[in-house]
């Protein structure tokens, strides 16, 4: 049975800075060498108020023996705001995983440390002894950071050793950020108004912040103030005044930390901490020259063999020491052994004219350096050393001197050309990545749902050369995750896991990652402000950590936007559903109101009546009523504009007022009833409810003699005359109720007379305006015709025939349909 490949977790705050990137590179190189998989979790500084530190800490909560087998913890940054003892307690949660700390000694955890004291002692000693500074300020790191405090302690010790007074006014408290370096300058110069001639900072970032702040004030570096940092980050080498610093072997720390973690996995018990040396790197910010070669031999020294070869043989060790020193100072990336080859090649060629190996060797070395992204221009410093020593031997020989200068000139041209190309290539590469990130950032803005965001992410990571990526969003807190992106160029299996819901502490669902080869993943938390959205695993492609941080920023924001849209869509759908339910209930209530007050089984002396109302689901508001009294009967028909509960209530008001008025005085004139109905509706609806509603309404009073008195605007009345067996159309002059407060001027009572056998048909616009599928209305003519065709049948038969004709005509009922049929028997 094959043994499972070990998985190591690296806890780091983020990858934008060189310090973290270099340690990560060391851990990764060692992981590759040992064939183990690496997960770099970028969860921010614990409880940090900066860089969203605390907001991203949640990613550390995913760590468990189910996703990693051992941990490397970058305590040097992670614990900056909690201190070593609380960090050690925090790390207890990861037991029983074997752990190794980098940068800070944690109780009970093997740690890889650097000798802060020696490097810092050398740096401050250099300022005092070599340059003669006396008023040296110090910018401390975070108070709880053990390394920062070590460096501060050494500062005080060195001052004491040199008999210099300690002045607390020259000490400020920083937080390892460049901004705190600048703030320290403001404090000392503007607030305390204290003079200083040199500054030592507990790290390079703060030193660079101070350097910028001083230069902005017109202070010259190093002529007016010298500055020294700690760490040796790349930015320091390219500062306006290249930063003198204390170099700590960052990638070596990473490699050793992984070794210690693996050793524990193998069962070894490690109790001792490993301490690595630091070294002073002299550049210009302290007052030195960055290309300073070792001091050349005094002119009066008599060379026993003052030829070039003789000089070389005499001084080879010194030359190589000088070369090594300039490499150290300018570019630690340069392989010293290849520098030695170049030195030897130079002297071989000078000694033997037939040998041509110097320039080809140099060309090959600088191209190799360019390929790996090294500092090619730094090779100029090696040429400077070569020239210094070569000129010792050829000072008096013009021809020989010209030959040496010629070769070295060619060498400088080769280096210059290679450096230019390397810079151009690097710039193009950065521009390429920057373009991809910018375009994908723009694309994210237009991605309005999660799947669109994922498509953009996938396109983005393919173009960035990232081989595989997985993105999960939390469901129900952090315990459960749903995989929304799976992309893997080497595993067809990955896609099948998309959409899978799984315990987040697994990072990815079981059997998702291929087991064919080791991989390194950057695990980035996804969050927006204080909301934890999920996390993503990006396989290490480009080594610039800033790319992964930018992706995290972009994707976090885009994902939040998409989730908001999704929430909005769901909320809208939920509200629409609720609104539909509410409307449905309202409709049901309105329908109950409408139908429950309809007259039932009305017996009218001397008349037959049949009526029906079919409420529509969308629009409704039909009204009809039959109110028999002694010697007469009232009929009402109308339609309230609109639909829903309000319409039903208005109809109920009309019904109540008509009933009350006619019951009070059955012989009241219809127009007077309408006038009061209008007043009631206007007051209640218009004035009190602030609504614009109106209704068509015709009221008819029919007495036993067949006299019909009617008033109010509604549909035309159809009357089938038994005598002529033809249908007449009677208009209903008047105006609507509820529209304006006073309609008296528009109201008139009209009269008609019914003979025995005459049939009167009342209806609403749901009948005449019923539409077929071609949007043709049923129409008044069709109604007349259908009415005439059955008018001599029973009132029920007439009602049912008209209703069936309307129904068969109608494609979709959208309005109430009401039919009232009355036959006057006499």
């Amino acid at each position: 049975m094959s043994r499972r490949r070990p998985r190591i977790g690296l806890l780091v705050d983020w990858l934008e800075d060189e310090y973290q990137n270099k340690v990560f590179a060391g851990v990764d190189a060692e992981a590759q060498a040992n064939g183990v998989s690496l997960y770099c979790l970028t969860g921010g500084i614990l409880r940090s108020p900066f860089r969203f530190g605390a907001r991203r800490n949640f990613i550390y909560d995913l760590i468990s023996p189910e996703c990693v087998d051992a941990l490397v913890i970058m305590s040097g940054t992670l614990g900056n705001y909690v201190g070593p003892s609380r960090l050690a307690r925090y790390c207890e949660r990861f037991r029983p995983l074997p752990m190794c700390s980098v940068g800070v000694a944690l109780d009970g955890i093997p740690s890889v440390l650097v000798d802060n004291a020696t490097g810092m002692r050398d740096a401050i000693g250099h300022l005092i002894e070599f340059h003669g500074y006396r008023k040296i300020a110090f910018i401390r790191g975070p108070g709880v950071n053990e390394e920062a405090e070590d460096r501060y302690r050494v500062y005080r010790e060195v001052l004491a050793d040199h008999g210099l007074p300690f002045n607390p006014e020259l000490v400020t408290l920083g937080n390892f950020q460049a901004s705190s370096g600048a703030e320290s300058i403001r404090t000392m110069m503007d607030v305390r108004r204290v003079a200083f001639d040199a500054i030592v900072a507990a790290n390079d970032f703060m030193a660079l912040g101070a350097l910028d702040a001083l230069m902005a004030r017109g202070v010259r570096i190093p002529q007016d103030v010298a500055i020294i940092g700690f760490d040796d980050i790349r930015e320091g080498r390219f500062a306006p005044s290249p930063l003198t610093t204390v170099r700590q072997p960052l990638d070596r720390q990473g490699k050793l930390a992984l070794e210690l973690a693996l050793a524990q996995l193998e069962g070894e018990t490690i109790t001792d901490h490993v301490i690595l040396n630091t070294e002073l790197v002299r550049r210009q910010s302290c007052g030195c020259s960055s290309y300073d070669a070792p001091e050349r031999p005094a002119p009066e020294v008599k060379l026993e063999d003052a030829t070039l070869l003789g000089t070389f043989q005499t001084y080879r060790a010194d030359i190589l020491a000088g070369v090594t020193q300039v490499i150290w100072a300018s570019s630690p990336d340069i392989d010293v052994s290849s520098a030695v080859q170049i030195v030897d090649a130079f002297y071989n060629e000078i000694a033997d004219k037939d040998v041509e190996e110097f320039l080809p060797t140099l060309d090959s070395a600088v191209h190799a350096a360019a390929e790996t992204g090294g500092n090619v221009d730094a090779w100029q410093a090696i040429v400077t050393v070569l020239r210094q020593y070569a000129l010792l031997a050829v000072d008096d020989e013009a021809d020989k001197r010209a030959e040496v200068e010629e070769k070295l000139h060619e060498a400088r041209a080769i280096i210059g050309g290679a450096a230019e190309r390397a810079q151009a290539r690097k710039r193009l590469q950065m521009e390429h990545w920057s373009r991809i990130l910018r375009k994908s950032g723009e694309a994210h803005f237009t991605s309005l749902d999660v799947s669109a965001v994922m498509n953009t992410v996938q396109e983005q990571i393919i173009r960035l050369g990232i081989q595989s990526a997985y993105l999960a969003i939390f469901e129900d807190g952090q315990g459960t995750a749903r995989l929304v992106l799976t992309y893997d160029t080497r595993s067809g299996e990955a896609e099948s896991h998309r959409g899978e819901v799984y315990p987040a502490k697994l990072l990815v669902p079981p059997n998702t990652l291929g087991t064919d080869s080791r991989r390194t993943y950057v695990v980035e938390p996804l969050f927006f402000e204080n909301e934890q959205l999920g996390f993503m695993l990006l396989e290490l492609g480009p080594t610039e950590g800033v790319i992964y941080e930018t992706l995290r920023d972009q994707i976090g924001s885009a994902l939040k936007g998409a989730l908001l849209v999704q929430q909005l869509v769901e909320e809208t759908a939920r509200r629409e559903m609720a609104e539909r339910d509410r409307l449905q209930k309202e409709m049901e209530i309105a329908e109950r109101i409408q139908t429950s007050i309809l007259p039932r089984n009305v017996e009218i002396p001397g008349m037959d009546a049949a009526a029906v109302m079919l409420p529509a689901s969308e629009v409704g508001g039909d009204y009809y009523d039959i109110l028999p009294y002694d010697g007469l009967c009232w009929f009402g028909i109308g339609d309230v504009a609109g639909h829903g509960l309000r319409t039903g209530l208005i109809m109920l008001m009309i019904e109540s007022v008509v009933l009350a008025l006619t019951a009070n005085d059955p012989w009241v004139e219809p127009r007077n009833v309408l006038r009061i109905v209008n007043k009631v509706i206007c007051t209640n609806v218009h004035d009190r409810l602030g609504q614009d509603e109106h209704a068509t309404l015709t009221l008819l009073r029919i007495d036993r003699e067949g006299r019909v008195t009617f008033s109010g605007a509604h549909e035309d009345i159809l009357v089938f005359r038994s005598r002529t067996r033809r249908c007449e159309t009677i208009t209903t002059p008047g105006t609507w109720v509820g529209a304006v407060p006073d309609i008296e001027a528009g109201l008139i009572d009209s009269e008609q007379r019914l003979d025995p056998g005459d049939v009167l048909l009342l209806y609403t616009d749901g009948v005449t305006e019923a539409m077929d599928e071609n949007q043709r209305q049923f129409g008044i003519e069709r109604l007349r015709s259908e009415f005439e065709s059955v008018a001599e049948q029973s009132v029920e038969a007439i009602r049912d025939h008209i209703l069936s004709q309307v129904r068969s005509h109608t494609a979709r009922q959208t309005d109430d349909v009401t039919v009232v049929v009355l036959r006057f028997r006499g």
């Binding site: 969308e618 504009a641 008047g734 105006t735 129409g779």
Partner: protein, 132 residues
Amino acid sequence: MSELELAEIQEAEFVLRPRLDGRCLHLVLSGSADGQVESILIQFFRRLHAEALRLGVREVVVDLQRLDFMNSSCFKGFIVWIDAASSAHVLDRYRIRLRSNTSFHWQVRSLDALRRMAPSIIDVESIAEAVP
């Protein structure tokens, strides 16, 4: 004189074109006004009175001769407008001339009821044009 600030309504089945001609505002309605245009039409009529006052028009001519149908909910817009116009101060009052087509039964019925709301400012001109 200011320009008319009433936008044309152009829907699939319904068109309303406003036009200002001196102190006369013309509205030409055509098609069919049903639930699809109910809210937009009511909004239009709500703005119409304010716009008429702003422009100081003396007459609004509403041409309905090509308007096949208007349901009762859309008609509510007309009523709201007529109510506002009839309540206006006497100096601001303007006449409303409704050009109707008696071929459309609904117009005969509804426009008469509308006229009766405010007979002092509304005239209905009826023509019998064959429904196209």
